[in-house]
Amino acid sequence: MVMEVDRVDGRTPNQLRPLACSRNVLNRAHGSASWSQGDTKVVAAVYGPKAGTKKGENPEKACIEVIWKTKTGQSGKPEKEYEMILRRTLQSICLLNIHPNTTTSVILQVVNDDGALLPCAINASCAALVDAGIPLKHLAVAISCGVVESGYVILDPSKIEEQKLKALVHLVFPNSVPSVHPKESSRVGDEPKEHGLISSVTHGRMSVDDYLHSLERGHAASAKLSAFLRKNLQSQVPSNA
């Protein structure tokens, strides 16, 4: 590699921080999970499906409610934005027609923020939804990519790295499903399904090429994340059954 970037913690640009995920961490919650990427850690709890939807929601579908709790202090506009992104992301992976007129609450508690907080929270809530047995179409894996000044992309930046970046991109992809039917429509056009983007949130100014580049790198890394998530969920299935 010609344009090698030095990272504070000595990682290679493509290297993620150590992942850890444990499910069923809370006793009263219907489903819970804690997810950590390096020093960033989020605990998610799922309650539901509870009867009735919130006012103004479609009663023919299940409603998802997201509550974001910060580590310290009161929640403000950034937390409202996180809640909205999470709600819409989770809505897109849940099978909403199975429990019509119900509400599922997802509560996220930030334990520590050392960068890539939103992706960490999305991964945590996804694991918690699985733990609660909420019917899902597929899982979602979230990753953040940082674009440094030279246009180089680093994955899963920590808080110190985030501050030095030119732009930050949070991406959410569906996980790759090993299809039972080999010729199932897992490909849309000439791209495989897991290359479809569920959510994208960006901060900072970059060229369109920088974005497309991080998208490509995000795809590649999401496969690793999705394998980790699958392995983690499978290992815990027998004990729950």
Binding site: R87, V172, I198, V201, T202, H203, L212, L215
Partner: protein, 325 residues
């Protein structure tokens, strides 16, 4: 006809309005196969957009933006502040987006709309990260030395103490009111905010006896005994102005600049913000049932490029009209 509607929809027997309300998705499907939308637009075209600068006389800068019937009123107030210690040579911008009950039947009085804080946050992220406003320009008094000599010639030994206070900057408070929420709220809000910034003038200020900054109104400026500090009103120089376009992804279609009805029926939205030199400021897709593939993303970016040119022209026209007046 029969074969085209295997589900046996009642479109032939029903009034158009009833069909639209009862089967909104099928209603849109039947338009989209013809590559047209219910309001007569082709899929990729945005609605007519108008801008009026200086809509609020009491504000320092203001603008009214309309995209179709979505209406946004932005007004900017300037206040003097002492800069934060971490960035001593910069002013600051506070942006607030309001959705009063007048704008939509979804908003109830007393209960703030869910979308408002989110759009508010998006707007400040976009405006600050695009760098369209040079925060250093919000400095009222530039040149520390010149300034010291001017104000306190007799208090040389006290100087260091006072210098800190003399660095005065403007905080710009931008309030955007949504008057009519008919889809693409972020686009209209950003356009109105940018237009209000281009209309904004930094007023003439002077210092009173205590060394505080006083904003002089036009006629007052001539009478007062205190000499104004900055010679004349000035405008901000806006570099790389960000413009945005929201698109709906639905099946394989991309619908630019959706109305509220379209947003409620087809819920996958994607907002692209490009600045005038076509750098990507934001690509925002909060969930939605349709996955965005690279080709769709590139189509959205291409549509936004086209829209940037349109909006740039509209903004330039509005500004030149203002100068004529």
């Amino acid at each position: 006809m029969e074969a085209a509607n295997p589900s046996g929809d009642l479109s032939a027997e029903m009034e158009v309005d009833a069909f639209r309300r009862l089967f909104p998705l099928r209603f849109f499907d039947r338009h989209l196969v013809e590559s047209i939308r219910p309001d007569g637009r082709p899929l990729g075209r945005a609605r007519d957009t108008t801008l009026a600068l200086g809509a609020v006389a009491s504000a320092d800068g203001s603008a009214l933006a309309k995209i179709g019937s979505t209406t946004m009123l932005a007004a900017i107030k300037l206040e003097v502040m002492t800069p934060a210690t971490e960035s001593p040579d910069e002013g600051s911008i506070a942006i607030d987006f309001h959705m009063p009950p007048i704008c939509s039947p979804m908003v109830r009085p007393g209960r703030p709309a869910e979308a408002a804080p989110v759009i508010s946050k998006q707007l400040s992220d976009t405006i600050l990260s695009s760098g369209v406003i040079n925060l250093k320009e919000l400095c009222l008094i530039s040149g520390k030395a010149a300034w010291m000599a001017y104000l306190y010639p007799e208090e040389r030994n006290n100087m260091n103490l006072k210098v800190d206070k003399l660095w005065n900057f403007m905080i710009t408070i931008v309030d955007i009111y949504c008057l009519d929420a008919d889809g693409a709220l972020f686009d209209a809000a950003l356009l109105s905010a940018i237009a209000a910034f281009s209309h904004l003038e930094i007023p003439v200020v002077s210092l009173d006896e205590d060394g505080r900054v006083v904003i002089l109104s036009q006629d007052e400026g001539l009478k007062t005994s205190n000499e104004p500090v900055n010679a004349e009103k000035r405008k901000l120089t806006l570099s790389d102005i960000p413009f945005s376009l929201t698109c709906i992804l639905y099946k394989n279609y991309i619908l630019a600049d959706p109305t509220a009805e379209e947003e409620s029926v087809m819920e996958t939205l994607i907002t692209v913000v490009l600045d005038s030199s076509y750098q990507l400021v934001s690509l925002y897709k909060p969930g939605g049932s349709v996955l965005a593939y690279t080709s769709a993303l590139q189509d959205c970016i291409a549509l936004t490029r086209h829209r940037v040119q349109e909006l740039k022209k509209i903004l330039d026209e509005a500004m030149s009209e203002m100068e004529v007046d």
